[in-house]
Symmetry: C2
Subunit: 283 residues, 2 copies
């Protein structure tokens, strides 16, 4: 696997590969890789000649009060995992390479970036979209891969790509879970053993809601209340949001549509914020 | 000249040309072409194999109170001028093609978009950047050409292109003027004969300032006051702004630097807003 740290080298390497007719797949990550990332890479390898991965903990998507500094990092371990998974090229820039002094350009998707995770993290998706557009421009991929755990992110990035007439095709890959049901996330490393057992209330609550929907429940408020009730069973869990929205505009729905609804929730367990969701339909 | 109205056809046509190794130049316009646009096309033809022009009056860069509806349009005349000037491809989309229902993605360059013309037109450059990025993505040019009359626009588009790691090289072409000194603008067509003679105070005031700078004046406030005094000689002229800023960040300067200053002004003559500038240095 080739490891590049500069934008110019990366652009040049990919330009050469494209001149050779190679199909380029791209998996952007913030590193501290887990099995969820490996699934993205596997999906990428199936559909492309070249798998490009980036590792960049993007300061623009963290608010000043958030966990940018303590976000887990271990590039050496990541490199080993990427070699094993068969990635071809790793782009691993310094912050100054991505955001040089005086950097000033930002992307926003109106409304969709201000709901769900955007309600209490109002600048988060602006930071995500900005870095993803830059990474798309640097790696000019045919396909790019995102995990369904961050469903809102995947939907908003798709929206940006369509709106800005990009040539990249955005793919969403199902969430990978640990044996206990917890969605894999680099942030799970923050959890103590006790916190981890609390965290399991999140997939548990979503599972119960899904079962009820499978049994015919369609009232969105009832679905959300069911999830809230499950989460409220333990007082140490703080709910950030529980929402039911349509897949295209991320607007609140009154009725759960089996082909067009995202049920998503975020909770705080101690100092750790966890998200999870399930989708009825396709994104 | 080939005329295309859809994004897909335009992308496909340009993809084919690039596969043939052609160097693509792009001149985005809002139509109602004048000699200034023709100079852009001439510069483009010199440096590229293929000259792509767009005509699109971009609603996103007009505020609701502004002149979007009455902005002059004459595509038939434009097409004749473009044929004569030797453009190869005209992209001329409907509004719905560029901004389909539910369009939501916008670009901003912080700070630089809120000064000069952005002070009283706070959403203007957001609209400009969004459409220009889309047009760049649709036409994927090697070079793109902008007029110096809209110096702030050219500088901000250059900034966006660098910040977002685009491959397009942004060129700025000197302002073209009528024999009486008025900078060419599609909006000059709004002016009555009486208003036109008032409009000439703008290039006149800038010329006097430039002469004083050539004679050694360096205090930016004195330069701006000189321009304001000239413009205030006629009470029917309303000054929007007179500013002296550096070329890189568009921040107010105290001292005019001969290699790094933009002196720019905007005035209202009746219902018509006119802008003009001169540059010490290069953009």
């Amino acid at each position: 696997m080739r490891i590049l740290n500069t934008i110019d080298e990366t652009k040049q390497a990919i330009r050469k590969l494209k001149e050779q007719g190679k199909i380029i797949g791209f998996v952007p990550t913030m590193g501290y890789l887990h099995e969820g990332h490996i699934h993205l890479i596997e999906a990428c390898k199936k559909e492309n000649d070249i798998t490009v991965v980036s590792i960049f903990v993007n300061p623009a998507q963290f608010a000043p009060t958030e966990d940018f500094n303590r976000y887990p990092r271990d590039v050496d371990r990541d490199v080993k995992m990427l070699e094993k998974a068969g990635a071809d090229l790793l782009f691993c820039p310094e912050i100054k390479e991505v955001y040089p002094e005086g950097y000033a350009t930002y992307i926003e998707v109106e409304k969709m970036g201000k709901v769900l995770c955007g309600k209490n993290r109002p600048t988060h998706f602006r930071g995500v979209l900005t870095v993803v557009l830059k990474l798309f421009n640097i790696t000019s991929p045919h396909h790019a891969y995102f995990g369904q755990k961050d469903a809102q992110q995947a939907i908003i990035i798709k929206k940006m790509s369509v709106d800005l007439n990009l040539d990249v095709c955005v793919r969403t890959i199902p969430t990978v879970r640990d044996a206990d049901g917890l969605a894999l996330s680099s942030r799970n490393s923050y959890l103590s053993t006790g916190e981890r057992s609390l965290a399991l209330y999140l997939p548990g609550a979503l599972d119960k809601a899904r079962l009820q929907i499978n049994s015919g429940l369609r009232n969105a408020e009832a679905v959300k209340q069911l999830i809230r009730n499950e989460l409220n069973r333990h007082s140490s869990i703080r709910i950030d949001y529980v929402d039911a929205v349509d897949l295209e505009r991320l607007e609140d729905v009154e009725t759960v549509e089996l082909n067009d609804t995202l049920i998503a929730a975020a909770i705080w367990v101690g100092k750790t914020r966890l998200i999870d969701n399930f989708i009825l339909g396709e994104i």
